[in-house]
Symmetry: C3
Subunit: 296 residues, 3 copies
Amino acid sequence: MEDVISAYDFSRDQYLEIFSLADEILKGRKIKMKEKIIAEAFFEPSTRTALSFSAAAQRLGMNVIGFSSQEGTSVVKGENLADTIRMMENYSDCIVIRHKFDGAAKFAAEVSSKPVINAGDGKHEHPTQTLVDLYTIFKTFNTIDGLNFGLIGDLRYARTVNSLLRGLTRFKPKSVYLISPPPLKARKEILRELNYEYVELNSPYDVLHDLDVVYVTRIQKERFPDEVEYEKVKESYTIDEKIVNSMRKGSIILHPLPRVNEIDRKIDVSPHAKYFYQASLAVPIRQALFVKILGE
Amino acid sequence: MEDVISAYDFSRDQYLEIFSLADEILKGRKIKMKEKIIAEAFFEPSTRTALSFSAAAQRLGMNVIGFSSQEGTSVVKGENLADTIRMMENYSDCIVIRHKFDGAAKFAAEVSSKPVINAGDGKHEHPTQTLVDLYTIFKTFNTIDGLNFGLIGDLRYARTVNSLLRGLTRFKPKSVYLISPPPLKARKEILRELNYEYVELNSPYDVLHDLDVVYVTRIQKERFPDEVEYEKVKESYTIDEKIVNSMRKGSIILHPLPRVNEIDRKIDVSPHAKYFYQASLAVPIRQALFVKILGE
Amino acid sequence: MEDVISAYDFSRDQYLEIFSLADEILKGRKIKMKEKIIAEAFFEPSTRTALSFSAAAQRLGMNVIGFSSQEGTSVVKGENLADTIRMMENYSDCIVIRHKFDGAAKFAAEVSSKPVINAGDGKHEHPTQTLVDLYTIFKTFNTIDGLNFGLIGDLRYARTVNSLLRGLTRFKPKSVYLISPPPLKARKEILRELNYEYVELNSPYDVLHDLDVVYVTRIQKERFPDEVEYEKVKESYTIDEKIVNSMRKGSIILHPLPRVNEIDRKIDVSPHAKYFYQASLAVPIRQALFVKILGE
């Protein structure tokens, strides 16, 4: 395993290997990778992703350098991305990049001789979030095959959805329901790639009782062309008690977080609510990924 | 010892235990707490406090993650404090929080299953600064009981003063003089809690010769409702040679720092000036606190 | 070796000692300086320099604290530089400072009891970049004496040039050509100090075939009094194929980076292009410097 740019970069077996290594780490297995340095090149702000990569690296005894926004980097002096990446590869053993442009991670991987991990590039992909998502599902149901999925909310601008849809091609979902307001429907070019059945819906109510996994995405203001469109749909897909009450026993609600209003806080205490558990797996799964990429 | 939200969270014995552990650390005792990660959630900027916590953690072999301002956190995406704290607890073993709202640290401690340390919440408290302050006094006089204290300057908006006044309730100060311009008098609700004698004054001159400890606070612009009020009092309480010459032998001047104009730089060389010595104790005392909270 | 403020702070022997220690580190010699903390006080933004110092410290097992811009430091609260430095020395074993004012590093060294390293102060000096530059030359030619140097571009506002010109006084360059547009000529006060021959030119073409080292500097917008003057000269000194084709065999092109338009990207693949190799030496040479200053 070298660069991780897309959820396609893992085979089914590689997903399962990473999950089982994460299990060992959760059970307390100590892996030390001292001397090594992870470079976090975050051209776009993030806390959650950057901090979970930092914590994963440090739990393995590695060090972290990097920046958390474009300001104060040489980019403001007019340096191009290629030169910035060449600098980072000189200083580190692995580059974790977040960038506002689709394809920036792939470009960085072409420039860099060190492994590059995509921590989110524009509206394109966020494959390590998909690792977290699928690992949470796997730990809950002990499988990913044969389950019914409902992806709800912004399926158009959310890179987490693009990566999850692609990651699911490595498994055998029974059915996948894509539930969104029309302006936020999943992109045709992604749907064309899928090797499993999916159904597009405008409302979750008809299928809720069938779903094993309800995957909710934040309706991200910063992804919207204009504020008005954002306000229109913001509230429309809130997961509330009415929705949760019609969910089947044992089914789970996931969310990549951060959330704004998509999930009513009353739901946090529901047995269906697994998004904080999901968040708790962000560090061990990234530890496992680092080990697979950099070796013990 | 679990969360540290207020200077009240330490008993007299706990203060003394932390002081003696800090003494051992200063004498060169090595304590290693590898594997552990400290999360610094600084929603309000700080250098002094954040860097001293980072240095303390690193001296103990621990790692540090976090952010140093609200910008670039998920808060700007609309995430609430509870969710941000739930994220941090997943990534770390202890959360150090600074926030502009009074009570934010207490709220974080209620949400988090990991220990939370208050590094300053609004105008409320700054208990680890009080650890530094009392430790400096203890190392100078070998006691805190029976001393005369003069707190000078902004006693209303300075959280360091609130915490120091509360910390002193664990000891037996002989007398405490609260010296401030009228608009900056200490808050009634704090004074009501005190179990020792105090006197409020508008000028230090009548009592200077009696004071063992002169505790000066920065008149913090950012704490003021309006600029005009700030300018009026800014210069009024400057510690200069005239004041220092009337101080008793062996008495000391402390300041939480940073200072602006409250202490004339000529005073830095005076034997009374202990504020840089005080600053030098910020790291060992926080090392001792981490050990008490997280265990060796 | 204590503070490093100027390229003059190294004797010829000290340059050579640092080079040979860097060689050993590149050959895989492990040096561990655990427990120690490096403080990076970057009052002016930087990625390249700050990250290479961080990587160097971490490769040696040291920890790093600090800040990467003036915002969010106590300076915005009105604290002066001396007090900020006194704080940093309490928290660390060595201070690396970058500041927009000439002489800020020297001032910091006078205040601090801990070693101070100048990571760039205004238009004054950048001595650790000179370590990188001279080390690259030394590794390429196995000497620095007897070579012909051409410094091209902004010789007036670039602190890297000031330090390189001074560093070369410790060696015996055969000839040094200073090639710049008139408004960017090297400063008289520096030229007066030099103990070797130099020639000032407006164009490189007459001497290119004689040069062993072509040292190109970025024409730094932020160093210019006004934008118009910047635009005028920006493109004027671009290293392109025409220039490279007239360079002698074995000669090299160096650049402190970041570059904007001074070197045509087509040149990156030329055997003369050594600026990325130069960048790759930034970490080992700074590791060697830390070892010399702080001891093993």
